[in-house]
């Protein structure tokens, strides 16, 4: 018999009236255990487990000194370039051929069309799996005026947990319409 149990038994001998309370507490516990919450399906568990691995993997990856040094060097180089462009705004632009003005050039000579890569110009050789969520591929989604859906236009059939964040959205009744609410960040555990 453990020391805790012995001390409890001793206390109960001094307070026999509490035996019924204790018995009732144990019955209540059995009742709650018999009506346990519905278990999530295996897919939901897998999503949680997947996110755990990603989150803990990120936190546990060793910091490499050379990566830190490279980042510092890149930041320093960028700062120098920005300072140079601020003091001499035309130096970064290539010289214009024939002395004419380029398309889009203003009197100040700095507003030139920004070159944008076409889809065929880009080949993704590899990328970190964690960055997949940030990758946008395809044509711009908006071609004309935006048409907003009305609440009655939408019927929610199913809502699944996000495979990347592991979080889920829920539908709640707002003042006038239903709205999706996602989990907010949870504060760190209290140290009490």
């Amino acid at each position: 018999m453990s020391a805790d149990r012995e001390s409890l038994e001793a206390w109960l001998r001094e307070h026999p009236e509490a035996r019924d309370d204790l018995a009732d507490l144990l019955r209540l516990r059995e009742l709650y255990q018999s009506a346990c919450p519905p278990e999530p399906d295996e897919a939901a568990w897998n999503a949680v487990r997947l996110h755990l691995g990603e989150a803990l993997g990120r936190g546990r990856s060793p910091r490499r000194w050379w990566a830190l040094a490279a980042g510092t060097a890149a930041a320093a180089l960028l700062a120098v370039l920005l300072m140079r462009s601020a003091w001499s705004p035309f130096r970064l632009s290539p010289p214009l051929q024939g002395g004419g003005k380029a398309e889009g050039e203003t009197v100040q000579g700095v507003e030139r069309p920004f070159p944008v890569a076409e889809p065929e110009d880009v080949t993704i050789v590899s990328m970190d799996a964690r960055d997949v969520a940030a990758l946008v591929v395809g044509e711009p989604p908006v071609g004309g005026d935006l048409q907003f859906a009305r609440p009655e236009d939408i019927r929610v059939i199913r809502c699944e947990r996000c495979p990347h964040s592991g979080r889920s959205a829920r539908l709640e009744q707002g003042d006038e319409v239903l709205m999706f609410v996602t989990a907010a960040a949870i504060a760190p555990p209290e140290d009490d």
């Binding site: 009506a35 829920r170 949870i186």
Partner: protein, 197 residues
Amino acid sequence: MATLTAPCPHSASDEQLLACFAAGHRQALDELFRRYRQPAYRVAYRLLGHEADALDAVQEGFIKALTHLHSFQGRSSFKTWLLRVVSNAALDLGRQRHRRDAVSLDASPHKDLPDARLLTADETGRQLERDDLRRQLDRALDCLSEVQRQTFVLFADGGLSYREIAEVMHTSVGTVMSRLFYARRKLRNYLNERGSL
């Protein structure tokens, strides 16, 4: 000392698994998750009353428990430490959401029923009774204060002893007993008034 090449057997103790995890063994995390996901989920669910919220709390709890292992320091069992973090995460989440009566997507009253075509009429009836009882028990928890609810849930669903609950909540065993006494009385009154027992 565990190494990256040494296997982490399923029979390993929690301490061994934590050492394996610290050494970078992915398998150790799998095993810790498999061992404790259910009690962690049950505690979170009872405190939040919602499956998706409970899974969020379990997820946050595991992440925080394993990234703050230096705070754990082996003073209690890993299960006790984990349930402390999970229950705190669940209470934080519940405070943020104020336990609103959500029009939840999975709030269909019999969502957790197995496929009705596979059940006989008797089985379906029993399942409905169990679901009704569970909902009554969950509602009864709402009449408890936050500390009473956390104490009772750690006792009933977490399976922790008085001493373990006292460690989790940084209080004395006597205070745990007192909280359980008042929690039991309130729950009993609530359930008796509604004829749930």
